[in-house]
Amino acid sequence: MTTAELVRALRHDFGAAIQSVEEPVSDKVRVAVTPESVVAVAKSLYRDYGARFLITAGIDSRKDRDGFDVDHIFSLDKEQIFFIVRTTVPSDGPHVAAITPEVPAAAWAERELQDLLGVKADGLLDGRRLILPDDWPEGVHPLRKDIKYGDWPPLGDGTGEATYPWKPAPEGTSTVVVGPFFPVLEEPTQLRLYVDGERVIDCDYRGFYNHRAIEKMGDSELTYNEIPFVAERICGICGFIHSSCYCEAAEEALGITAPRRARYIRSLMLELERIHSHMLWTGIAGHILGFDTVLMQTWRMREPLMWLCEKISGNRKTYGMNIIGGVRRDISRDLYPEILSVVEKIEQEWAQLYDAVQGDTILKARLVGVGMLPEETAKALAAVGPTGRGSNQAIDARADHPYAAYDEVPAKVITHPDCDNWARVVVRLEETLESVRWIREGLKEMPDGPVMATDIAETVPAGHWGVCTVEAPRGEAIHYLVTGGDNRPDRWRVRAPTYANLQALPSMIKDETIADVPITLGSMDPCFSCTERVEVVNMRSGEAETLTHQELLTRSRAATERLRGR
């Protein structure tokens, strides 16, 4: 089905509800629909045309058309189409009908819309806060344009007693709190397990403890060319995918074509990143199962790859190579043999590890049949990456929406039908080998030539848009960019893969034992972010003084003021 046929079919079904259709680049469509019909259109896309929900982007467009745009982004994977359903709601007491009851994967996206844009989603079963802190005042929505980046809401009432409305524990269960800091979760996130003995009956989740307001920074502080470097810092493990994804989306919005060689270099770095990330994950998974020998050995194997990346880019991680229009560093042909020898050494050692893992009966006992994510659930909750592929969902952005050099050198999509933790392990182990194969092919095919586009216009028109997905080691990342004035985007929407996968966690750990919760959570390779809380101890007097939330907030605000030089 082409985009034209799809639009015709929707026009036939919904008539005048389809207000306008834009298709600036082939296979990327944005249709505007009336607020009344948004649920019906979304439902039809999801049910009748097999579209997969990606994310919702809310845009504060009050200065242009006195309203908020709500863009639901869908993907038709087989047809390689991005389909955006836009509806504009009036700015006075904005609210929109929630699509979550029909499209379950949208649950978090719509809660986020309520939090950050203040557009109420009517009909949400769970409308609790997702991102804003518990003591954040009502009615302050940070992504609105009238809030400046760095504005602070007034401090709360000072009692520090604001609490999250946790789900009540079911009858006959006790509550085990995992996090915000927990040995196996090196990043802040909180999981409340309602357990009966060791069996998990239900759970509740609270995260986003360290929301960094990167999207806000993107549309109010940074310029187009600065964003790739901030985007790369979204993640400390797979940052390059974010800068690649942003650059590809921006190039599309601005009508720039990156040279072939630059796109091959992007793919090459992305595959190197995938290998190191999967090796890192395998080690962590071993550690979670108390198998530290695996952790030490995989990280030892991984080290030469980090050195190689340092040789190519100047950094072990956070390569800083992407820029709109190409890459900033070329890779010398003299390095090709070294790249090959490093990855082929890994391939050889990895094959041995793969065999050892396959034959380990205790590992199998821990992983097989644990953390089940049935195919239907994976589809309904739009799980991505190895989490989705382990449940037989053939979703891989490299094949579904080829970017960088994957149109010329395709990557094989690896799936596994078992839907358990074991399947997710096997998918990752095989993907590592597949990435080595890609690098071998890619280096052979890599053309010579420039690495930067030269025909870049001086000014950027407002109102253009681009959308791109990039397959991160954990799943696909999505960047959606709407250009604005002032040399910066009007809206830059990012969705990291863990955002989609975490929503599947409650169904994966239900009825499992506590012993299996860490590895099940680990099996999706979650990526949160890092922060710390402080206790001050006066060593001389031995007196401990615990800072309250309020005092911490006051102190950190004072420190930020100092840094800003205000």
Binding site: P183, E198, L289, G290, T293, M296, I362, R366, T513, V517
Partner: protein, 309 residues
């Protein structure tokens, strides 16, 4: 009498020194398998000194009592276990000089079986008082694990008692020194005991009681400072006791303290090597494992022993 008093002091002292040494050795062995350097062998001593000086938060009398009882229980157990030497008449072993076992004449194996449960129960008591959900899950796992290995362990003990016709460990040791070691005369029991050794030591694949990644160190979750230091020592002594018992029952003890300790190190190394290449299992897997292979082997040996008598 004086010798006896010296022995009563000497026995736990040896146990303490060796226990701390074993903890350090364990870290080095595991580091070598990981291809790391690992900490110096005296690292546990540094840790214990540091913990002793740290702030210790208590959750009440029961919480503290648990630590004291566990440590006391482990130390008392040592007194019942021969740590090398022999009862044989002077002259038959030139380097031997009497049995180092202050309480060899009272109770023997039966007392040791009871005393070995003292540690887990005391820790359960203390950790329970902290009311930390992770601790209570850890305690329930500890009790289940004890249940898992006690079944084959008791069968092993029964086979040995019926083979040697005595409950005195000293007697069993000297019988082995006269004829064949237990590992040859009751081989299936020895295999069964080696299989449950990791569970009794609380090391991988059966380190699920304190699994840090799952339940934040379980029973130890609330223990810090000097309580944790004492429990570290207790754990070390418990490890020593279990291995010393294994050496006495299956490897003929030692004709003097040196050969005895060499055997202890050998068994400990073997157990650590197995442990380093295995992941952690779930409690149900641990129960299933302990009640199949080790129980089956121990039962078979017991039947063979009883029938052949």
């Amino acid at each position: 009498m004086v010798t006896r008093i010296i022995h009563i002091v000497l026995s736990p002292l040896i146990a303490l020194v060796v226990a701390v040494f074993l903890l350090g050795l364990s870290r080095i062995v595991i580091a070598r398998i990981h291809r790391r350097y690992g900490p110096p062998i005296y690292q546990p001593i540094i840790d214990i000194i540091r913990l002793m000086n740290q702030q210790s938060i208590s959750h009440g009398t029961l919480f503290e009592l648990g630590v004291v009882l566990a440590l006391a229980g482990s130390i008392v157990t040592v007194l019942f276990i021969p740590l090398g030497g022999t009862n044989a008449p002077p002259g038959s072993y030139p380097l031997a000089h009497g049995l180092l076992c202050p309480l060899s004449s009272s109770g023997g194996l039966l007392v040791v079986i009871y005393l070995m449960l003292f540690g887990p129960v005391s820790i359960a008591l203390g950790a329970g008082a902290s009311e930390n959900p992770n601790a209570s899950i850890g305690v329930s796992r500890k009790m289940l694990l004890a249940l898992a290995y006690e079944v084959p362990f008791l069968l092993v003990i029964l086979a040995i008692m019926s083979h040697y016709g005595t409950i005195s460990i000293a007697e069993i040791v000297s019988r082995q020194q006269d004829s064949a070691w237990g590992v040859f005369s009751v081989p299936l029991s020895a295999v069964a005991a080696f299989l449950i050794l990791p569970a009794m030591l609380g090391i991988r694949p059966f380190d699920l009681v304190g699994a840090p990644q799952e339940i934040a160190s379980g029973p130890l979750a609330e223990y810090g400072g000097r309580y944790l230091a004492l429990l570290t020592i207790q754990n070390g002594i418990q490890v020593f006791v279990v291995i010393a018992l294994f050496v006495n029952l299956f490897l003929g003890g030692g004709v003097n303290v040196i050969t005895f300790l060499l055997k202890v190190f050998a068994v400990f190394l073997a157990a650590e090597l197995v442990s380093a290449v295995l992941p952690r299992v779930r409690i149900e897997n641990a129960l299933r494992f302990c009640w199949t292979w080790p129980t089956g082997l121990a039962l078979a040996q017991m039947i063979i022993t009883v029938v052949s008598r």
